[in-house]
Assembly symmetry: C2
Homo-oligomer: 460 residues x 2
Amino acid sequence: MSVRETVGEAAAAADALRALGTSGRAALLRGIAQGLDDARASLISAAVDETHLPVARLDGEVTRTANQARLFAEILEDGDYLGRIQDGEALRRVLVPLGVVAVFGASNFPFAFGVPGGDTVSALAAGCPVVVKAHPGHPRTSALAFEVLRQAVVAAGLPAGAIGMVSGFDDGARLVTDPGVAAVGFTGSTAGGRALYDLAVSRPAPIPFFGELGSVNPVVISPEAARRRPEELARTLTESIVASTGQLCTKPNLLLVPDGAGELVAHLRERFAASDPTELLNEGIADRFDSALSAWQHRVGARSLVESGRTPDGVRSAALVQLGAEDDVAGFEEAFGPATALLTYGDLKQAAGRIARMPGQLTVSVFAEEDELPGLGSLLAAAERVAGRVVFDQVPTGVAVTRSMTHGGPYPATTAASSTSVGGTAIARWLRPVTYQNVPLSLLPPELRTPEPALGVGAH
Amino acid sequence: MSVRETVGEAAAAADALRALGTSGRAALLRGIAQGLDDARASLISAAVDETHLPVARLDGEVTRTANQARLFAEILEDGDYLGRIQDGEALRRVLVPLGVVAVFGASNFPFAFGVPGGDTVSALAAGCPVVVKAHPGHPRTSALAFEVLRQAVVAAGLPAGAIGMVSGFDDGARLVTDPGVAAVGFTGSTAGGRALYDLAVSRPAPIPFFGELGSVNPVVISPEAARRRPEELARTLTESIVASTGQLCTKPNLLLVPDGAGELVAHLRERFAASDPTELLNEGIADRFDSALSAWQHRVGARSLVESGRTPDGVRSAALVQLGAEDDVAGFEEAFGPATALLTYGDLKQAAGRIARMPGQLTVSVFAEEDELPGLGSLLAAAERVAGRVVFDQVPTGVAVTRSMTHGGPYPATTAASSTSVGGTAIARWLRPVTYQNVPLSLLPPELRTPEPALGVGAH
């Protein structure tokens, strides 16, 4: 089936998906969650083969992905996501589905950010049919997850086309430019994301493109934290950096450490040198990791503290690079894999300045001691200015799927700083407001045909 | 001062504007409202000269603009706009200002959509410094309104640069591409808006562009409404079409009338022929009106029912064009001025199909009788699919500045269907979410340092 036909079938299912209503779509999402649980063994087996991620990690990811679908079911039942506002009798506002959503999943989370991931379930929750682009890194896993989605869609009484799938580079581009597609969700590289973003905004009728691209995720270690907790911080940070072989969008790529933190650096060197070599997702990822790491090593004044052990088949051990003290980190980009860079700073004011001048980030983290809090104001303000999540005394890896989560940030962290791709408000990406004026109750959409006290009432 | 310097001064005022807090910014907005009231006479006098709009209309517009600023003051005091969500103790989400906002106002509302209009006051409310691009159609009015804003900004204790102004075509383009600008608000033509949108999304770091471009605002008159109320509807519709010499973004450009509505059409012809010639805003608008009207008249099967009386100095009387019955309205665009087109339909199903195939609209309106309601379901569904506002038995002109208003819609009505440029939620355009994780109370922004019960609490 061509992209045009797949999108056409999806568009044809839009009315049925809307007509299911919030409770019907909540049931659909719970059906997807159950389907993922039921297919767990075969999903994990395919993903182990295709991604080299360990079973325990993939098992946890299936659980996370099923729970994510259940979170949106609860959000539908609450109804707050509908953004209903009423003025007097005549004006009633509600959020309605945008239309067919195209989803491009990531290589590193075949489930949570893949075919059955957050973009797909939040779009279905919103009432939008979905066409996923299967990731070339895990085609069998994608096909199995797609089967789960399709069975849940059919079991909900919807046309099968409410969820569609295409694959291949060219069909991905066709999907973004298809006139029947109303919005795009994307998780992946900055280069790939920007290319598809450019297609989306150059259409005769441009569409929103919610892309999560790249993030350095700087971590600032305060002078006192470095002095008092060198061993503990070295362990915590190394674990965060090498988890999932460093292939996490929130992995710290840059540690800002105070001058004279020799003990912390020594412990980091030791931990990095002792880390187990593990296999990256695929050869493309390994090649790009090697290039990015090489770019770090070739920055003016940079030197390797721990070299990455490499084998041709994509196995890598962790690398630690010390940047030159004068490095302004302009053009510094993430290395997607087990590596981080160290940059020293003189005082917290200088550290705040460095953070403030960075491009958009998913996260900025600060480790500090309680007696230092009064001096951290400008650093936290700088962190807020560039990031979607500001973390204190914890590592940024591990993104909780909760209502208040923001997994986003200014460009290039994402192409839409006002959005999040994880958490309850991720549904807002697929909705737009409509105000009904003077429309009789019987002609209002069901979401507005509720007793008035259920609606927010504006003062004007 | 160069655009770069103006934006630089605005950016330098961001921290002070944020530090004012919600109550301080509410006071700033009330200061702007008071300033508009105080300068009313000189503002109106300049605008009458520059726009040819009548005094009564401009006087009402100043009131509307001042009240708009006061609405955002109330919204700040409520605090709901902050989108605060909390999960347990550790995760707290809040919306923060995007940064410097560039505002391009419209020719037809020198106040409400001009220098002191909705884009400017909603951005200041959000905590974003603003640089306005003065409209070439009313430079003196823009300068006077800018003075009001600047005085209010200084009176609020802010650096004067928190509000800046540039003018001229080239500086407008420089403003959109300046790296210090974080978002753009625009109201104007489809061609001009798309050109600036293209600049915004092609930047090395793209920024959101909230443009309100063009809308046909179709109005469907049901068979029974046409039969029972021909005279009343002809009067109501004509008034809506010729108000402000047809220069309203929500002016009906297309009336869908049932076959055999001869009486309604006869009354419309009579009303249109009797309408007073009035002067358009400027010669550019008059030229574009003539071109658009000519495009209507040259569509296959079209014929003029009432010709527009024209004088070279921009005075026009109302024009009524009958489209061919087979016209699919593909490529049909608004004529910004006193004119509308008639298109006949066979039955309501056909009318619904025509609406569903239209591009994005600010409004779709339906006039019908109560006994017809059961047959209007698909028509209303089609209206929702293409429009930001669905109006029943009222004309679309006259956009209430209320909390529930949507003045937006899918492209080309706007470049961002998820937003509105009028009403309380217009502030959301200038905000992005940040989640604070495990951050001590003393380091949270003031908006989050509230007693916990004030925050929304997520279930997860």
